[in-house]
Amino acid sequence: MRKYSVFAIAREAMRGHKGWDQQWTSPEPRKDYDVIIIGAGGHGLATAYYLAKEHGITNIAVLEKGWLGGGNTGRNTTIIRSNYLYDESAGLYNHALNLWDGLSQDLNYNVMYSPRGVMMLAHNVHDVQVLKRHVHANRLNGVPNDWLTPEEAKEFCPPLDISKRARYPIVGAALQRKGGTARHDAVAWGYARAASARGVDIIQNCEVTAVRRSSNGHVIGVDTSKGFIGAKKIGVVAAGHTSVLMEMAGVRMPLESYPLQALVSEPVKPCFPCVVMSNTVHAYISQSDKGELVIGAGTDQYISYSQTGGLHIINHTLDAICEMFPMFARMKMLRSWGGIVDVTPDRSPILAKTPVPGLYVNCGWGTGGFKATPGSGHVFAHTIANDNPHPINAPFTLERFRTGRLIDEAAAAAVAH
């Protein structure tokens, strides 16, 4: 792999940019691998990268039924934050946040991590109580999160209307300054390139159709649209399709898959400095570096694999955005789309061993896993390499739905991001 640098750009500028290599190789699958990762989204690619980098396992294939990053990784609104309520969540999401910091350097790829601040608005007494509880819980866990008065909030984010006559008055806000956004595609591409450089085979257009097991129950490989591929260990990192894949191995999951939608506006000059979200009004917004407003909507009420959602869902979100920011009322929306998100009963992910020997699962990130991509890949690689979870993901088991040790972020947050 040729290193990307300012010198490389200068050199290529002189040569008409004819010397750039392919960012990753696209080999035919080998007969068998030490580890197969199913799903080349950010989490799957990061898992492969850290397996190679930190655990010296490089005989790995990442199998993807479509194109890499074409699942939820390429469809999300890229909000990054770690201000979750419970200790276990703070540990996991903050682990990821710390990795975002040096990620562009580590991957030699600009993932455009932009810690521009994530602000959560309080509109009523109940919001104030909930958000302050979060601020205090976060601080106890070493996650900086500040409580702002309406005036301080407006100073940080001038487009806010803090007048008393606003449709949804702002009575305070919580601000995680290190939260922000990153470029979703670049995260997938950066991990793919760095993993490929360490010998990982990324095999696209290769759909897994069955998980094969030996007579003692241990996994032996997968059937795919490119034939049988053997593996000693298999990691399922397939987001919305996790139930389908796990069922191939006889494991029924505590998951439901719903369409989640987002939309972007026409690009305009910089006008919105940070990420603002409101749990009560159920909307959030940020502006991409390209200038588009990026707006996240909710999920449909029924399970679906259609990758589209109901129009009334995004309509509802735009109503809320226009009420909160009347200055956006005349913006034209360019595109809207849906992704299929896998939701657990407690809205926390599952990163764990499974009842099937050699089979591991990383799922349940639901509406908010992009932010966790580096941390998730990091601890999941540890789990696969050692056949034992990392202390950070040890609580995120599959068994918690039997023992009752839930990590109930469902009760702690309302809006999908």
């Binding site: 759909e207 159709t209 069955a210 998980v211 094969r212 097991r213 059937d223 049988f228 399709h241 139930s243 389908v244 069922e247 191939m248 191995a249 006889g250 029924r252 999951m253 505590p254 998951l255 439901e256 898959s257 009420q301 029924y302 399970i303 679906s304 694999y305 259609s306 109901g310 129009l311 009334h312 009963p345 739905f401 039997r402 023992t403 009752g404």
Partner: protein
């Protein structure tokens, strides 16, 4: 937005009048405290979540207010059947289903045998 036929009102109405009630045909235990942890987990948390035929409950909250069941294709979101609560799970819906993928709605037992996927046939209507 879905258009949903309520089997009580005998009318097709917009989705906004309905509330989805999750997977259908999950029987609640008569003595829940006596259930094992495994049985409770299966009842309360584990879901089929199929790509293909979904058997689900709907409630016509802004209409007659009653619960009913539906069979829907979770890939196209098309309804194949609606039927009243208490009626048995229809077993014949599978026949008219378009093919989506090699594995959808194939019982796990069939998938785990060491035969190539294409040699396996399944006519099971379970979802």
């Amino acid at each position: 937005m879905l258009l949903i036929h309520c089997p009580y009102c005998q009318e097709e109405r917009p989705e906004l009048e309905f509330r989805n009630g999750g997977e259908a045909h999950i029987a609640r235990s008569r003595d829940i405290a006596a259930e094992s942890d495994e049985a409770f987990e299966a009842f309360f948390f584990i879901r089929t979540n199929p790509k293909g035929l979904v058997y689900e409950r709907w409630r016509h909250i802004h209409g007659c207010g009653r619960f009913f069941n539906a069979v829907r294709d979770s890939v196209t979101d098309k309804f194949l059947r609606v039927y009243k609560a208490g009626e048995p799970k229809p077993a014949d819906v599978m026949k008219n289903l378009p093919e989506h993928s090699a594995w959808e709605n194939i019982p796990p037992a069939d998938q785990n045998v060491e035969t190539p996927a294409r040699d396996r046939v399944s006519t099971d209507g379970e979802a």
